[in-house]
């Protein structure tokens, strides 16, 4: 699949070139190369422990990389420090466990980035936060604390909180894995709407039907390497690599 090389580079938002990451002796990423293009949804799939979260965490500098490089809009990311802070503002991150701030209302959670990082006036930050809560369908929950929201509602607030920084790209790390089955759909719908608006998204997920329907490009991880990547039709219907088929059938995916 050479689709990655036949469009101009200006469309590449994130590029990974031979990225390595170790924890002590353990190799978590063993030379990962891939790209995320503007407005694309890229889904990372693969068994647990294969390095998917590590790749996201290296992308926004929560972990530093040990080799290779990651570029954002063609610029090599700094490995750490102050420069990384500016980069993080351009990427939104959504965590498996939501990580909402429990001492703040939903509105204050969403406004916290604009207030603290962008130093917007309170009125402006809260107006932006209200609009985003409305967008994820939670206008009526602005004054609620996270402990009074369902998992699905909390994750939608977390998405709004990340969007409040007006990021160029959104990173999702298994956003529905901690949810009760009945609230998974509402979160996936918000993500799907975001994708349709043209948001660039890198999504780690075990929701294969979401990946099948929404992804432009699917990347299969195993033991810190990419074993296969391509459009969803290839990965789900006609995988080139037997291990991809094994992984999918292990999940009960019938194609």
């Amino acid at each position: 699949m050479t689709r990655q090389n036949d469009e101009p580079d200006a469309h590449v938002v994130l590029a990974y070139r031979d990225v390595h990451k170790q924890f002590g002796d353990f190799v978590a990423l063993a030379g990962v190369s891939m790209e995320v293009r503007k407005t694309e949804v890229v889904c990372l799939i693969g068994p647990s422990g294969s390095g998917k979260s590590t790749l996201l965490r290296c992308t926004n500098g929560l972990e530093s990389i040990d080799g290779g490089e990651i570029t954002l809009d063609g610029q090599v990311l700094p490995r750490h420090g102050r420069g990384m802070r500016a980069v993080r503002q351009r990427m939104g991150m959504v965590f498996q466990n939501f990580e909402l701030f429990p001492h703040m209302t939903a509105l204050a959670n969403v406004a916290s980035g604009p207030l603290t990082v962008l130093r917007l006036p309170r009125g402006e930050a809260e107006a932006r936060a209200s609009a985003l809560l409305a967008k994820v369908g939670l206008a009526d929950k602005a004054a609620s604390y996270p402990s009074n929201l369902s998992g699905g509602q909390q994750q939608r607030v977390a998405i709004a909180r990340a969007l409040a920084m007006q990021p160029e790209v959104m990173l999702f790390d298994e956003p529905t894995s901690a949810l009760d089955p009945e609230t998974i759909g509402e979160v996936l719908n918000v993500m799907k709407a975001l994708a349709e608006e043209g948001m660039t998204m890198l999504v780690v997920t075990h929701e294969m039907s979401f990946a099948r329907r929404v992804a432009d490009h699917v990347v299969v991880f195993e033991r810190g390497t990419i074993i296969e990547q391509g459009p969803p039709a290839q990965i789900f219907d006609a995988p080139l690599v037997p291990r991809t088929r094994d992984f999918l059938s292990h999940l009960g995916w019938e194609g």
């Binding site: 926004n60 929560l62 802070r85 990427m91 990580e99 701030f101 001492h103 916290s112 990082v117």
Partner: protein, 219 residues
């Protein structure tokens, strides 16, 4: 045995002023030791070996010396070491402040450590600096979590202020003992002291119990 309770009423004014000073000492010590404790905790958790070592030394020194010794030492050593004479009240404040700061430092350190890493990571991911993540996200949660412990430190402190009577700070214990030595009314003055300490301390202890129920095991 003859008890002459009139000695208490006759000296009510002095006892009231002593009580006032006890409350004032408690409040001022805490006002000093809460920021002091946060500072010690942040130093202890910082990456700088020097800061964290200084904080650990301070904490271990003051947590492991008897408060009475610290009070005497502050009284006799501070003027010699610094060449400045402090009033007994200021000396008491310094001694109590160091002691309680050391305890509060450990309390805040545990409180900060109890906030899971994902919280500060979420703050960093928004683009906050490590200090902003600490101030906006971690410390407010840690403060809530340590509130019950701080409150029980407060109750101990309220009683421990009586120790500074040894350097003639005119708080409640000193005042009561002074009246005793003038009038030889030992039992009356001890009873008066007990009633005053208890009736002020008991509601505080109840408040601590309530705080423990309210904030103790919350997430």
């Amino acid at each position: 045995m003859n008890l002459h309770w009139s000695v208490v009423w006759d000296n009510a004014g002095a006892l009231a002023r002593g009580t006032e000073l006890t409350v004032l000492l408690t409040v001022l010590t805490m006002a000093f030791a809460v920021p002091g404790g946060i500072l010690l905790a942040l130093m202890r958790l910082s990456r700088s070996r020097l800061l964290s070592g200084a904080s650990a030394s301070f904490t271990e020194l003051f947590r492991n010396l008897p408060l009475l010794l610290v009070i005497y030492a502050a009284y006799y050593v501070l003027p010699l070491a610094l060449g400045v004479a402090f009033s007994p009240f200021a000396t008491a404040l310094i001694a109590l402040g160091c002691n309680v700061s050391a305890y509060n430092g450990e309390t805040f350190r545990a409180g900060i450590a109890s906030i899971r890493k994902g919280q500060s990571e979420a703050a960093l991911a928004l683009g906050m600096s490590p200090w902003q993540a600490m101030r906006v996200v971690v410390l407010p949660q840690a403060a809530r979590r340590v509130l019950p412990v701080l409150a029980s430190t407060w109750v101990s402190l309220f009683k421990d202020t009586s120790l500074v009577s040894v350097i003639s700070v005119g708080e409640l214990a000193y005042t009561a003992m002074l009246i005793r030595s003038r009038t030889f009314r030992v039992l009356e003055m001890l009873t008066a002291m007990a009633v005053i300490y208890w009736s002020l301390g008991y509601p505080q202890a109840k408040l601590v119990d309530w705080l423990n129920r309210r904030f103790g095991v919350s997430e």
